[in-house]
C-alpha cells in the first residue's frame, strides 16, 4: 500500500504562522490581569496548537483512522488515572479522612510569600 501522505502537503508555512500568532496571544494572556481569561487562553490555545500540529504536521488526518483512536484511548486512560488518583491527592479531606500535612503546607505557604527554601 502506498503512503497516503504522498500527494497531500498543505501550506506548512501558513500553519506555522498561525501557530506563532497563537503562541503570542497565549504569552500576552497574563497581561490582561484576569486569571480565568489567562488560564483559558493558555490552555485553550495549547489544545488548539496541539491539534494543528497533530493534524497537519503529523498527518493524523490522513493516517489510518485507528491511529487517531489509539491516541485518543491513550489520553482517555490518562484521564482515568487522573480521575482515580486526584480524589486522594488533590483533595485534602474527604469522607472520614483529612490530610493534615497537606493542609499545613498550604497554610504555611499562604502566609510566607516567596519560595519555600530549606
Amino acid at each position: 500500500m502506498s503512503s497516503p501522505t504522498h500527494a497531500h502537503h498543505p501550506a506548512y508555512v501558513k500553519i506555522w504562522a498561525v501557530l506563532v500568532v497563537l503562541l503570542m496571544v497565549s504569552v500576552l494572556g497574563p497581561l490582561t490581569g484576569i486569571r480565568w481569561l489567562m488560564l483559558l487562553l493558555a490552555f485553550g490555545i495549547a489544545v488548539v496548537k496541539a491539534y494543528l500540529v497533530a493534524k497537519n504536521f503529523m498527518h493524523v488526518n490522513i493516517e489510518q483512522r485507528w491511529i487517531a483512536y489509539l491516541l485518543i484511548v491513550s489520553l482517555a486512560l490518562i484521564v482515568v488515572l487522573f480521575a482515580g488518583v486526584a480524589p486522594d491527592v488533590m483533595k485534602h479531606r474527604g469522607l472520614h479522612w483529612e490530610n493534615r500535612a497537606a493542609q499545613q503546607a498550604v497554610e504555611a505557604g499562604a502566609h510566607a510569600a516567596g519560595p519555600a527554601h530549606e
Binding site: M1, L23, S26, V27, M58, L71, A86, V106, P115
Partner: protein
C-alpha cells in the same frame, strides 16, 4: 544481517512498518509524560501556594523556546515533504536545521536553568521546582535523543537512503513539540 527480514517489509496492517512503530512509541510515551503531568496537575491544584514558586520562572525564555520548537517542527515537516519528492539532499538539509533548532532549545534551557540555580531554586527547593526540573528535564532528554537520531537519519538521507525514516523522526519530533506546547502553560504561564 545486512538484508532486512521479510517481517519488516510486510505491511498487513496497511501502513509501513517504520511508521507503525513510530506511532506505538508515541503511544507509550504518552503514558510516561501523561503519568508525570497528571501527578503534577493534581498536586498543583491541591497546593495553591506553589504559585509563589512558579512566579519565578522566566516566561519569555519559555515562550522563545516554544517558538524555536515550533519552527524546528516546520523544518521537520518540510524535510518530510522533500523526502516524499525523492530529494534526499534537501531532506537532509531540513533535518539538520531541525536538529539545530533542537540544539538551540537545549542551549536556551541550559541558560535558563543556570540562572534559576544561581538564584537558589534547585530540584529540592519545593514541590513546584521538583516537578519543574523533572518534567522539563525528561522532555529535554527527548529533545536530545531526537537531535542525535535526526543527525544519523540526515546522513542517510543525504545519500538518498532510508528516506522513509525522515517522516518517522518528524512524527516523533512533532510529538516532542506537542509535549512542550503543554509544558509551556503548565510551568510558565499558570501561576
Amino acid at each position: 544481517m545486512s538484508s532486512k527480514p521479510i517481517a519488516t517489509s510486510r505491511s498487513a496492517a496497511g501502513l509501513p512498518t517504520a511508521r507503525l512503530v513510530t506511532w506505538w512509541v508515541i503511544a507509550s510515551e504518552i503514558f510516561i509524560f501523561g503519568g508525570l503531568l497528571a501527578s503534577y496537575v493534581m498536586h498543583r491544584l491541591g497546593h495553591p501556594e506553589w504559585a509563589a514558586q512558579a512566579a519565578h520562572t522566566h516566561t519569555w525564555a519559555g515562550a522563545l523556546n516554544t517558538f524555536v520548537l515550533l519552527t524546528s517542527s516546520l523544518f521537520a515537516v518540510l524535510a518530510h515533504k522533500a523526502a516524499d519528492s525523492g530529494d534526499g539532499a534537501r531532506a537532509a538539509r531540513f533535518l539538520r536545521l531541525t536538529a539545530l533548532g533542537g540544539t538551540t532549545f537545549l542551549c536556551i534551557k541550559a541558560f535558563e536553568w543556570t540562572h534559576e540555580i544561581e538564584a537558589g531554586f534547585v530540584l529540592s527547593s519545593g514541590g513546584f521546582w521538583s516537578f519543574y526540573y523533572t518534567a522539563a528535564g525528561l522532555h529535554g532528554l527527548h529533545v536530545l535523543a531526537g537531535v542525535i537520531i535526526m543527525l544519523f537519519f540526515a546522513a542517510d538521507a543525504a545519500r538518498n537512503e532510508e528516506l522513509q525514516r525522515v517522516e518517522c523522526i518528524g512524527i516523533y519530533w512533532h510529538f516532542v513539540d506537542i509535549i512542550w506546547i503543554f509544558l509551556f502553560p503548565l510551568l510558565y504561564i499558570a501561576r
